[in-house]
């Protein structure tokens, strides 16, 4: 393992992210914060939703921000860099095993996902105002889940970015991301699906479910949620699975 090269690759991604900072911030925070404002402030404030909904919504919004950011941060550059211009070529030719080039992308995406997740909490807090009930009783567990969520997002970004062509980006969002968010227990807890037993089972293939439920379990444990060990196992499995698939797809794309 060649750390100098690995760190230089990370420095390059950090440099590019800094250059696109404003776009990156808007892209990461605008949509979740608008959601927080409309559902948490307008709907709750006007009495259409109960006050407790604020606390239920925040972990879900955090999960969406992290997953979106992680996937976007890894998949979009990869899709662009692997098209006919082959911009990634200079990194594939760097003196490091090409699997590490992919892992570097995952680490960069993971960091962005973490920053997004941890920044959206105070921002949402400000927007939601009083009445937010968060109980961070097990901070280590919360951090662990946050890391696992950022991890599967970045690994998912790697797998998607190496499987989708540029002309199919729109399709990727409407076919993968949108259903993932709406069936991801982000705006409602998993227990809310009790009346839809088939759907309740089906959504368990969606990793975002464990992200929302896991963050809810550690930030707002007063709501009913999936059991924590089960969440931890599922998130770990998704991390490993998506990493393995992502690395394989990356190798396929990188070497002809």
């Amino acid at each position: 393992m060649n750390w100098k090269t690995f760190l230089a690759l990370l420095a390059r991604d950090a440099h590019v992210a800094r250059r696109n900072l404003v776009a990156l911030l808007l892209q990461t925070f605008l949509q979740p914060l608008l959601f927080v404002f409309i559902f948490g402030r307008v709907m709750v404030g006007s009495g259409y939703l109960p006050a407790a909904y604020k606390s239920l919504l925040l972990p879900g919004i955090m999960a969406i921000s992290m997953v979106f950011t992680g996937i976007w941060a890894v998949a979009m550059p990869l899709i662009a860099e692997f098209q006919f211009t082959r911009e990634i070529e200079d990194r594939l030719l760097a003196p490091i095993d090409i699997a590490w080039v992919a892992i570097e992308k995952v680490v960069a995406g993971l960091i962005q996902g973490l920053v997004a997740g941890l920044t959206v909490i105070p921002l949402a807090w400000i927007i939601l105002g009083r009445g937010l009930e968060l109980h961070l009783t097990r901070p280590w567990l919360f951090l662990c889940i946050t890391l696992l969520v950022a991890g599967f997002s970045a690994c998912g970004g790697l797998a998607l970015g190496c499987s989708v062509d540029q002309q199919h980006i729109g399709l990727m969002f409407s076919m993968v991301m949108t259903p993932m968010i709406f069936f991801g227990c982000t705006y409602y807890p998993w227990s809310a699906l009790n009346k839809f037993p088939i759907m309740q089972k089906l959504v368990l293939i969606n990793p975002l479910v464990y992200a929302s439920e896991g963050l809810r379990a550690t930030l707002a444990p007063q709501f009913e949620h999936l059991s924590l060990p089960w969440i931890l196992v599922a998130l770990t499995l998704f991390d490993v699975l998506l990493l393995v698939v992502g690395l394989r797809q990356f190798q396929r794309k990188a070497v002809s």
Partner: protein, 341 residues
């Protein structure tokens, strides 16, 4: 290190369409397997069919051939970007496939199409490239400045390369490949799309780099480039090497490859007949009032005999032009088709 580049029995069969930059390969050689009538046999494209190469350190080696001959696939394998179906390739002592990282340290690569990092400026591309190879920050910026200057890119150094012209991108790709001072430099069709002036600059830079003892492998379908730049050439067609040697040797291998354009005071049938009997002459054609074209296996050494033959018949030789056998003719001779086809 006895050889800078070595390949043994290199074969590459694509069962999907090869990437554009890796050439078209030989589709006519598709394997007809079709074991199972239900599953469509994948179309197999044989891009390389047993390539054996040996390039000595410090040499400028040219791979010459038409589009789709397998030049880019060979470079792709040698630069770790293409997995060989069988056979082995070494850069120095490193097996390219099994010791990729060590091999990558030895090489600089200029791909057929510029593949610059569009998110960065020209200077940043060089600086980050240097960083990937672990070069210290001060040395990195010194080298970047020197290269930007050498490639006449200093005034655009801090602009994103996205807006560069094709020629500038090409120069930038070459500068980047030289940034970590690799032992072996690969240039895949380096002068395609360059204006004549830039091409000359590029040739000058290639020679200069070679004089530092570095090995250079370039692919081209440009005869002039192969002829003026390369010390050794391999002519490749349909994934096989069909001839190998110095440009001079290769050209000498064509029978009657020289053309001597002669002009006399006047000429006569006996003179033409006499010229036709000279050793090495394969064909004599009269042109104009007093000219004759001699196709022969040798050039300058034939002149005294031509002068003597003419003098014996009382004719004076007034003008001689010798054109050397060209690689174009050589390719035609070996494959029966022109390089530009």
């Amino acid at each position: 290190m006895n050889t800078a580049i070595r390949t043994q029995g290199l074969r590459k069969v694509y069962n999907t369409a090869p990437p554009a930059a890796a050439g078209r390969g030989d589709a006519s050689a598709a394997d007809k397997r079709g074991r199972n009538s239900k599953s469509q046999p994948k179309p197999e494209i044989k891009a390389l069919d047993g390539i054996d190469l040996e390039v000595a350190p410090g040499q400028i080696f040219g791979l010459l051939g038409p589009n789709g001959a397998g030049k880019s696939t060979t470079v792709g394998i040698l630069t770790t970007r293409v997995r060989p179906t069988s056979g082995t390739a070494w850069i120095g002592e490193y097996d390219v496939w099994h010791d990729q990282t060590a091999a990558k340290r030895q090489i600089g690569v200029v791909a057929q199409r510029p593949n610059l990092d569009f998110a960065l400026t020209a200077r940043e591309i060089l600086l980050f490239h240097g960083a990937y190879f672990g070069i210290g920050s001060q040395e990195r910026s010194e080298r970047a400045n020197a290269l930007l200057d050498r490639f006449k890119l200093t005034d655009r150094a801090d602009q994103l390369v996205r807006g560069f012209s094709g020629g500038m991108m090409q120069r930038m790709s070459i500068a980047r490949a030289m940034m970590h001072d690799p032992q072996v430099l690969f240039l895949d069709e380096p002068s395609v799309g360059l204006d004549p002036q830039t091409r000359l600059l590029l040739w000058e830079i290639i020679r200069e780099y070679n004089q530092k003892g570095r090995t250079i492998l370039l692919t081209t379908h440009n005869m002039e480039e192969a002829d003026t730049l390369c010390e050794q050439l391999a002519i490749i067609d349909h994934g096989r090497i069909i001839a190998q040697g110095t440009p001079g040797e290769l050209k000498a291998s064509i029978p009657g490859g020289y053309l001597l354009r002669l002009r006399f005071g006047h000429h006569s049938a006996p003179l033409l007949e006499r010229l036709g009997t000279l050793a090495g002459v394969t064909e004599v054609r009269a042109f104009g009032e007093s000219g004759a074209d001699l196709y022969a296996g040798r050039g300058g050494s034939l002149i005294p005999e031509v002068v003597n033959a003419a003098a014996a018949l009382g004719v004076e030789l007034s003008d001689v032009h010798i054109s050397e056998p060209s690689l174009e003719n050589l390719f035609l001779h070996h494959t029966g088709r022109s390089l530009r086809e």
